[in-house]
Amino acid sequence: MKNTLPLEPLEHRGLRKSIVLRRHTMITIQHMGKVKIKPCFSLQRQLASVHRTGGAVRWMSRNRPAPLLTAAPVRAIIDEPISIKGQFLPPYSPVTFCARLHCDDGDLWEAFAHYNTKADGTVNLTRDHSVGGSYLGCEPMGLFWGLQPAPGGREGLRLRKKNVQTPYVMHISLWDGHVSSCERQSTELAAVTAERWYMAPGVKRIEIRQNGIVGTLFLPPGPGPFPAMLDLWGMGGGLPEYRSALFASRGYASLSLAYIGHKDLPGPHNSLNVGDLYFKSAFQLLQGLPQVCADRVGVIGLSFGVYLALRIATQCSVKPSCLICINGPVGSTVKLRNKDGMTEPNDIDPKYWTCDHRGYVGFREVSLPANLHPESKVKVENINCPLMYIVGEDDLSASSKENAYLIEEGLRAAGKSHLFTQLSYHGAGHLIEPPYTPNSRASLWSVKPKKLITLWGGHLAPHAVAQEDAWKKILDFVENNLRR
């Protein structure tokens, strides 16, 4: 059972906005002891960190080298766990692990955890228990899913990789004692850098702008043909690529499809201006690729993408081989303006929005079955392929449980229960994404016409469990339905 910490953000300590690697300065390192430092190299690369000499620490004796910190594998795909170990530490001693990451926008994300070394002077995150910090207990990947925006940063952040062709670079360091503000309160003992990639070597990324279709295609290496996944995100719009990139790294061709809020789509940006024909064309484009097995194409949707996935399966005269639905409705949450599925603008009717004491908006009730636009409700009885529905029980953005129930009942009434699988995760929120990335319980939804922060729900630790388990089950599900 995972333990959780209270949800208040890390205490604001008036730290500088972001503590970045000192990439651009030459630093003279102070050494304790008798040896004078001569500037002895014409350094052509920058030094990566600074010793502080404040505070006598047993580490800085001349008798022993720094402890050794290792991470394996140092370059991994984002859904691969890594094992982090420290050795040559004093026994039964308190240490703090810190993880830091600069996202593509430059914001700093951090996590930390307190451990006590064992009798042999080692600490091993796959074996030992955190006794404090961003997570508690034995959590090998806690430093990754436990990342939170650093104090003093911008408000309402969500960690999403924009550029999938570069890795996340995580700086993991080990500090003396149990501290929460590593640089201020302690001495750095050791560090290691790990890369986390969405794209495996050989995966190809291809921008698609043809026949009006706006998307990004990812192809696994090799001749193929490959099974494929059409990938749909939510009403936030744009074109997130990372889940598709990851599918390709796992051997599935994948097309991430934009449908709203993208500069290459017909405007205005807050309404759905593409209809059934658009989604049908995208599905058929994917099917028709020489690298794709035409009869092995599935659809995955999150949030509003669930409704679109169901609509593709029932109204667009294409035949997906399987459907994966994460936390989304069976009908549109925005009024349709024609029978092809295009909608009115999304933000004219906030009547179902709720607001908490901080002014954060919850969209959950918008997708209660009774509040969905009836003419848009998908006829689930017409679904003919296996469907997996994933529920985050603490979803504050969509009425996932209720919609899952509707789908289940609709299939049961049509004698198609065997097609339906449901996964339900206690404590997980709306944004059930690939594993080992942090959940944002709330984040910025819009800046215009006014700044809105929306609630997604989910508590850090159980949400991390959900992401790890759901991704494994998603991969098994597509393997069984698209490969066999």
């Binding site: 052509q44 022993r64 720094a66 360091s173 890369e195 990639w197 050989g202 009869d295 081989s321």
Partner: protein, 426 residues
């Protein structure tokens, strides 16, 4: 719904690894009991093509697992999880005498792993599936620094983190030049490592190097702000081994914490240009094999009779690891290792010695999973090119590389990171 059979799936993991890490290669979704060939291909920085391949038969589930299944032939046979890497050799039609050595360690080695149907003539058929993997000499965060200080030339690799770290002086052999890859790999394991250049290829005779060059190089490492001055070791191969032993046993200013010699060579390294290495221009004792490849091992045997030409290893005061291949055709490393052992025993220092000798391994014992080179091009003094026979058979040589690297890392860790002193055996 009926579907055409899905094509086979090839999964190689990890897709990005360090060169001394193992990979698993799994092929699934094959028809049961079907013959396939798994191939790896590498296009080197020098524009040569290297390949390895092996013939397998899938099991009842349609799976081939390179880690568990037997290869029935190819560039290796039997159960060899890493065979697709260590059995790599130039493709038919390549130039002769090639050796694969990465010059630019900041980029990875790229390998294309592919699965082809059938055994005979597999190359004529397009692959059923393929994958790309990266193998790196540097880990993220390792820094590479060009060194040109007090006359010393080389490249320094620093692990990430504040340190202080133990250090290693890394020296290659009589081929000369600057080879960074082993030092880079040592930095991945937590050592500040200096790859030292001490002469350019073919210029050994005219090199004016003094012994003090090596002492200065060692001191440079010691003085680095992130190095523990009393925990610097030396690793040398071939001629580098002779230099390492000279420094460890005879230098008054340099005291390595540990010493590793590959291709055991305890010829006195006091002066390079006067070194016994210039014997190589002496035709006496030199043989050639049936391919006209030079065998140098006998030329140096006479040195063993001349005390003045040998390092007095009895004066060693630090732990020493001596690694050699029994089929070394370039240097009489077995005889030399025997002599080192005798001398250290006579001086009561045998407890400092760890000796690793590998049957059927050759001279060039390198980091693991790199291909075996039985004979390669070499530039002798006067900038002439010959083909030198290094010796070794591929499989036992590769086993030697894998085993010795693990033991070298463990030896370095024990003596440079750990706290015990080597105890005399009772």
């Amino acid at each position: 719904m009926s579907q055409a059979a899905a094509p086979p799936v090839l999964c190689v993991a990890p897709s990005r690894a360090l060169v001394d890490e193992k990979i698993t290669v799994l092929v699934e979704n094959l028809p049961p009991g079907s013959p396939v060939t798994v191939r790896s291909h590498h296009h080197s920085d020098d524009q040569d093509d290297w390949e390895a391949y092996a013939h397998y038969v899938s099991d009842h589930r349609g799976v081939v697992s390179v880690s568990d299944d037997m290869s029935f032939g190819g560039t290796y046979s039997g159960v060899e999880p890493m065979g697709l890497l260590w059995s790599l050799r130039p493709v038919p039609g390549s130039r002769t005498g090639l050796r694969l050595r990465k010059k630019n360690v900041c980029t990875p080695l790229l390998f294309h792993i592919s699965v082809h149907s059938g055994h005979e003539g597999f190359r004529e058929r397009p692959p059923l599936a393929s994958a790309l993997i990266e193998r790196w000499y540097v880990a993220p965060g390792v820094q590479r620094i060009d060194v040109s200080e007090r006359g010393v030339r080389g490249t320094l690799f620093l692990p990430p983190g504040p340190g202080p770290f133990p250090g290693v002086l890394d020296m290659w052999g009589g081929g000369g030049g600057l080879h960074e890859y082993r030092a880079a790999l040592l930095a991945c394991h937590g050592y500040v490592a200096l790859a030292l250049e001490y002469f350019k290829p073919g210029e050994l005779k005219s090199t004016d190097l003094e012994y003090s060059y090596f002492e200065t190089a060692f001191n440079l490492i010691q003085e680095h702000p992130r190095v523990m001055a009393d925990r610097v070791g030396i690793l040398g191969l071939s001629l580098g081994s002779s230099l390492a032993l000279s420094l460890a046993a005879e230098s008054k200013t340099v005291q390595p914490r540990a010493c590793i010699c590959i291709g055991s060579n305890h010829c006195s390294g006091r002066s390079l240009s006067g070194s016994p290495m210039v014997l190589i221009t002496n035709p006496e004792g030199m043989r050639v094999d049936e391919n006209n490849h030079h065998i140098w091992r006998d030329m140096a045997l006479s040195i063993l009779e001349d005390e003045s030409k040998l390092v007095d290893v009895g004066k060693m005061s630090c732990p020493l690891m001596v690694v050699n291949g029994a089929d070394d055709q370039n240097w009489p490393s077995t005889e030399m290792a025997d002599d080192i052992t005798r001398r250290m025993r006579a001086a009561g220092k045998e407890h400092l010695l760890t000796r690793l000798e590998y049957p059927d391994a050759g001279h060039l014992i390198e980091p693991p999973f790199s291909p075996h080179f039985r004979a390669t091009n070499f530039m002798v003094p006067g900038r002439q090119k010959v083909i030198l026979l290094w010796g070794g058979q591929t499989k036992p040589h590769s086993d030697a590389q894998e085993d010795s690297w693990r033991k070298i890392l463990s030896f370095l860790q024990q003596h440079l990171y750990g706290n015990q002193c080597p105890k005399a055996k009772l």
